[in-house]
Symmetry: C2
Subunit: 257 residues, 2 copies
C-alpha cells in the first residue's frame, strides 16, 4: 500500500511510565506515527471517571526517543478528551489503542477499567479503538508474547474499521503458549468484596477494599472461558447500554401516577 | 398487602447533604425501611470508579430523623459495595435507588455518571436498581414534580422485579408539567469538549474542562427526545457491553499472527 502511515493515539491507565504502555508504543511505532497521552500516575479502577471540579495539567514529556508524548494529571478518559481537543485539535487519529494493562479486563471489569474506559471514550469520539490487557498484575510482567497480536489486531482494525458505536476489548493470557484468538462475549460475573477493617492512630475505623472475581457464567463463548483455555479473547464492545430486550416488558407495566 | 416493608438502599453521587437525595429519602420512607450510604463529598462524573490505592472511611451520620445513614469517603460505586458487604452483610436490600441527581443522565451520560454507576453496581450485585436524575443542575432545583414518580416507579420494580442484568435509568424533565412516561432507548450523542487554558501563578499551563453535549440521533424513541417533549424517560439499561451483532463480522476477519 502507498497509503501514508496511520496516526496512532496510545493511552493507558497504569500511567505513562508503566512497562505495558512501553511495549504498546514500541509495536505501534512499527506501523504508524505514534502520539502518547497517558496519566502521570496510576489510574487503575477509575472507570469512566472524568475530572470536573479540578483543573487539569497536560505536559510534554520526552520519555522515549522520537515519540511525541504527553503526561496528564487526569483520568484515562480525560487523556483521550485532551488528546482529541488539544493535541489533535479536531483531526482524528486513525486508531486509539489503550494499554497494555497490567491485569485482565475480561467480563465485568470492562466497567471498572480505566484502560477500557479510555478505549470506550475513543470510540465515542468516533475513533476506531482497542483496549489491550494481560493476565498479569506484576510491574515486571512479560508482555513479549502479546507483541505480534498487537500489530495484527491493530492492522485489521485499520484496514476494516469497526462498526459505528463499537470497539474491541482484547485480553491476553499470561501463558506465552497462546492457542489462537477467540471472538467472545463478555462473561457474566461479579466481585465479592472483602473490607479489611483497621483502626488508625487516631482511633478511627478505616477499610481497605479487596475483591475476588466470581464467574457466574459457564458459557464456552465467553472471554473468561477463552482466557482460561489459553486463547486471546476479543470482545466487540459497545457503549449503548440500553437493554433493548426489556423495552416491551416495561411498556406492559402501566405506570400509575 | 401484608408483606413486610421492603428495605431500600438509597445512594447518590452529589453527596449525602445534597437536596436531591433528601427528596428521594423522604419518598422512600413512605414505602419502606430506608438505609442511606452516600459519598461525604460531591462525586459527579466519577463513572464506575472504585477506590483501590487508598483506604475508605464509612461513618454513621444522623442527618435526618429516624433514617439509618452512612457517609463514605469513596466513590458512588464504593458506597454500594460497602453497603452490601459491611452494612447489609450479604442480606440484600429489596431495591437500590440512586439520586435524585442534580442534572440529566440521558444518552451517553450513563457512562460518566456516578448516579447511574451506583445503580449499575447495585444491579451487578443482583439488587433491582434504579437511577433518578432531574434536568436541573442547580443546588436549589425544585424536585417536587418528581415525587409521585419516585414512588410509582419504585413500587413497580418491587412488584415486578427486573430481568437479570438490567436496571432502570429514569430522567425527569425540569418542567413540572409532565406529559407522562416514555420507555426509551439511550440516544446517540457525545460531548464536544472545550479546554479553558489558563496560566497559574508559577507560570505553568492548566486547563478547565468544559463540554457541550451534541445529540447525534434523530430517533423519536430515545431518552433525549422524550425529555425534550416533556416526558419522563425510562431506559432499561444493562451492563453486558458486548456488541453481540459485531461478533460474526470479527469472526470473518481471519487474524494473521
Amino acid at each position: 500500500m502507498t497509503k501514508k502511515k496511520p496516526t496512532i493515539l496510545v493511552v493507558n491507565d497504569d500511567g505513562i511510565t508503566a512497562p505495558g504502555i512501553k511495549v504498546l508504543i514500541e509495536e505501534m511505532q512499527k506501523i504508524g506515527h505514534v502520539v502518547v497521552v497517558a496519566p502521570d500516575s496510576p489510574q487503575s479502577g477509575m472507570g469512566h471517571a472524568i475530572t470536573i471540579g479540578r483543573p487539569l495539567r497536560l505536559d510534554r514529556i520526552d520519555l522515549y526517543e522520537g515519540v511525541e508524548m504527553y503526561k496528564c494529571s487526569g483520568t484515562p478518559v480525560d487523556c483521550v478528551k485532551l488528546a482529541v481537543n488539544k493535541i489533535f485539535k479536531g483531526r482524528k487519529p486513525d486508531v486509539c489503542v489503550s494499554g497494555i494493562n497490567h491485569g485482565l479486563n475480561h467480563s465485568i471489569n470492562v466497567l471498572y477499567s480505566g484502560t477500557m474506559s479510555a478505549a470506550v471514550e475513543g470510540a465515542i469520539e468516533g475513533i476506531p479503538s482497542i483496549g489491550f490487557s494481560l493476565d498479569n498484575f506484576a510491574y515486571n510482567a512479560d508482555f513479549s508474547h502479546c507483541r505480534p497480536y498487537l500489530i495484527s489486531i491493530t492492522q485489521q482494525v485499520l484496514v476494516n474499521g469497526l462498526p459505528k458505536g463499537s470497539l474491541l476489548n482484547v485480553n491476553f493470557p499470561n501463558d506465552a503458549d497462546i492457542k489462537g484468538i477467540k471472538i467472545c462475549r463478555q462473561a457474566g460475573g461479579h466481585y465479592v468484596e472483602e473490607f479489611d477493617e483497621r483502626i488508625d492512630p487516631h482511633n478511627r475505623d478505616y477499610y481497605w477494599m479487596t475483591g475476588k472475581f466470581e464467574l457466574e457464567d459457564r458459557g464456552e463463548d465467553t472471554d473468561s472461558f477463552a482466557l482460561s483455555n489459553g486463547y486471546v479473547a476479543i470482545v466487540p464492545t459497545q457503549f449503548d447500554m440500553t437493554a433493548h430486550h426489556v423495552i416491551p416488558e416495561l411498556n406492559s407495566w402501566g405506570f400509575d401516577v
